[in-house]
Amino acid sequence: MAPAYPKDLVLRLFRSMYLIRRFEERAAQAYGQGKINGFCHLYIGQEAVAVGVNEAVQPRDYIITAYRDHGYALARGADVGMVMAELFGRGTGYSKGKGGSMHIYDIEHNVLGGYGIVGGQIPLAAGTAFAARYRNEDRITVCYFGDAAANQGSFHETLNMAAKWSLPVIFLCENNRYGMGTAMTRVSAVAKVARRAVAYDMRGESVDGHDVLKVYETVRDCAAWCRSGKGPVLLEADTYRYRGHSMSDAATYRSKEEVEAERKGDPIPRLRAWAVSAQVATEADFDGIDAEVKATVDEAVKFADASPEPSVEELWTDHFVEPGERDVPPRERVRGVKVDWPTYPSGQELRVSWELEPRTLVQVGEPHLKKPA
């Protein structure tokens, strides 16, 4: 691992990864108790990716994800109890219990949602990046997807447009090697997703997705690339999920030996062991974080469990925006606090200076460009 990381950074990364791990373990427990239902996809094993990315980008940057999505919101600082309440299907959840595990949105933190159709979120990321360029904002989009989504048409259609129009997107493929129960290598002509960048003349990178510091370094570099106007990056994080695809998957398509071997690279003990041996932090530091995170997640479970179900009238809300309707930030609705909510310039204030194609190309053939006789 790379040298000289300050203690507060290392402990922050550790805390965030452990928060996600602990949250997912308690979610699994609640699922077993019947308190969480439906599809529930755990992020256990992949925490270093969401946490490394979050450290490397700015709060104003957009995050958009697939359905294995609890961890990204937690890494961004979402209210832990309200994420758990969403999984419990309670009215105090981020989406009032309407979305559940697969659809976590925290717009206050620019987490633009978890999407349940494989690859369906990828074009959306081109749209948020398009909007950023359109408004001339210094804002990138990180688009997470799994290895299997790289075989969807939406992946190819979007990478083509994003590259052609230099859209500031990090397309972040979390390659955990299995699309549900099918190994990526069994169904892909090119299973190394980063290699596909060359097809769109785009920068392609790979990173060890179990090393949070390497993820942080790599994404920081990719983010700078996007911000400087050089276009998108396809970044592949090699990772592994220690649990099944979802709670209903016993994962019999993988050998015990394979899972055991992968567990040796567990990003959380790995960071801790390195930090202690490099004398960046002490066991006592980590023990303190362990206890604090456990208490936080216990509190979140209690909050979710004690929260009321949504009222049946909620069935009919949130389908159409009515004239003059205001979007109510979830933490304001649930916790009664004031929050910073994203706002955008009105169509009367906005000046669009971006040209998507060079002026000369656009104006070819237009009469006023004809050379005087």
């Binding site: 957009y62 958009i64 959840g93 981020y94 989406s95 009032k96 219990g97 309407k98 979305g99 659809h103 949105y105 925290d106 717009i107 633009l112 949602g113 999407y115 349940g116 159709i117 369906g120 990828i122 074009p123 959306l124 081109a126 749209g127 948020t128 398009f130 909007a131 950023a132 359109y134 048409g153 939406s154 259609e157 979007t158 083509n160 447009m161 052609k164 949130d318 389908h319 159409f320 925006v321 004239p323 979007d327 109510v328 930030p329 979830p330 994203p342 955008y344 310039p345 009105s346 169509g347 009367q348 204030e349 906005l350 000046r351 669009v352 971006w354 040209e355 998507l356 656009v362 237009e366």
Partner: protein, 328 residues
């Protein structure tokens, strides 16, 4: 008042809304340098530049989704589908993302986007280019569906659709782009929802939308010559649906004929029949009749194509049927 063609009415609506609101942009295949496959976007590139009038690759799913993403963070995209047949490729983005993002986020996001383009037959275009697909979109909660008939309605409803804070499926008709009509000068914004009673009569209610309005109007003229007077109700917007206007007219005439270009099975007309029978059963003097495209794939051969289509004669016959005035 000026008499202009459909395509010009749409062009005015787009230009005026883009002038008024810099968040509005137009994206689609051939919309910019080609001036639009049907010339709806003529001159807009020169006026608004290449970031606001965007030629896309042939990637309907991709650019539809790009539009949805841009709408989620405050822009107001108008996504042109060269035809609604091609939009079948983009249906995932329209029905899974645009239609659901507000509900899935519990009201945190909004999606002000218009998907627009020609729907229905174009004339001798065979099975893949002749479909009327409004029933598919009307089926999904979370979408508004607009299908106007006249240039004035098209202009006023497109402007309202662009200003709406929700996803709107705006269905034009390939065979209407050259059709002319009077369009009032100056600002024209029509609310999404209210139907338009294009003709008044007390014998029967004719309910239709989009291009079929013209067949219904022709049928109404022929019927008038025989002393039969119809209420001709042009729905203009399929969702939200003007249920009150439909029921009021049926309660007045006690008879209804629904005219729909698309297929009968699970068509929009089936929904209208359900509305009428469940809400106005006691007012009916005859079973509601439907005149629709036949439930077959469209053929290229002229005789086969025409045999599958709605025409004024079939509408006239249906109205006489509900009036029990059939000949022979």
């Amino acid at each position: 008042m000026a008499e202009i063609a459909w395509r010009e009415a749409l062009n005015q609506a787009l230009a005026e809304e883009m002038e008024r609101d810099a968040n509005v942009f137009l994206m689609g295949e051939e919309v910019a340098r080609y001036d639009g496959a049907y010339k709806v976007s003529q001159g807009l590139l020169a006026k608004f530049g290449s970031a606001r009038v965007v030629d896309t690759p042939i990637s309907e799913l991709g650019f539809a989704g790009l539009g949805v993403g841009a709408a989620m963070v405050g822009l107001r995209p108008v996504i042109e589908m060269m035809t609604w047949n091609f939009a079948v490729l983009a249906m995932d983005q329209i029905v899974h993302n645009a239609a659901k993002v507000r509900q899935m986020s519990g009201g945190q996001l909004r999606c002000p986007i218009v998907f627009r383009g020609p729907n229905g037959a174009g004339g001798r275009l065979a099975a893949q280019h002749s479909q009327s697909l409004e029933a598919n979109y009307a089926h999904f909660p979370g979408l508004k569906v607009v299908a106007p008939s006249t240039p004035a309605d098209a202009k006023g409803l497109l402007k309202a659709s662009i200003r709406d804070d929700n996803p709107v499926v705006f269905l034009e008709a390939e065979l209407l782009y050259g059709v002319k009509g009077d369009v009032p000068q100056g600002e024209l914004v029509l609310p999404l929802g209210p139907a338009s009673l294009k003709r008044e009569g007390s014998d029967c209610t004719l309910i239709t939308w989009s291009r079929m309005y013209y067949h219904a109007e022709e049928a109404a003229r022929q019927l008038e010559a025989e002393g039969i007077h119809v209420d001709l109700l042009d729905l203009r917007t399929l969702k939200p649906l003007d249920e009150a206007a439909i029921l009021a007219s049926v309660r007045k005439t006690n008879r209804a004929v629904i005219v729909e270009e698309g297929w009968s099975f699970c068509g929009v007309g089936a929904q209208l029949v359900d509305l009428i029978q469940s809400q106005a059963f006691d007012a009916l003097d005859a079973p509601v009749q439907r005149v629709t495209g036949l439930d077959v794939n469209r053929s290229y051969a002229a005789v086969l194509e025409h045999a599958a289509e709605v025409n004024p004669a079939r509408i006239v016959a249906a109205v006489k049927h509900v009036l029990y005035r059939e000949e022979g």
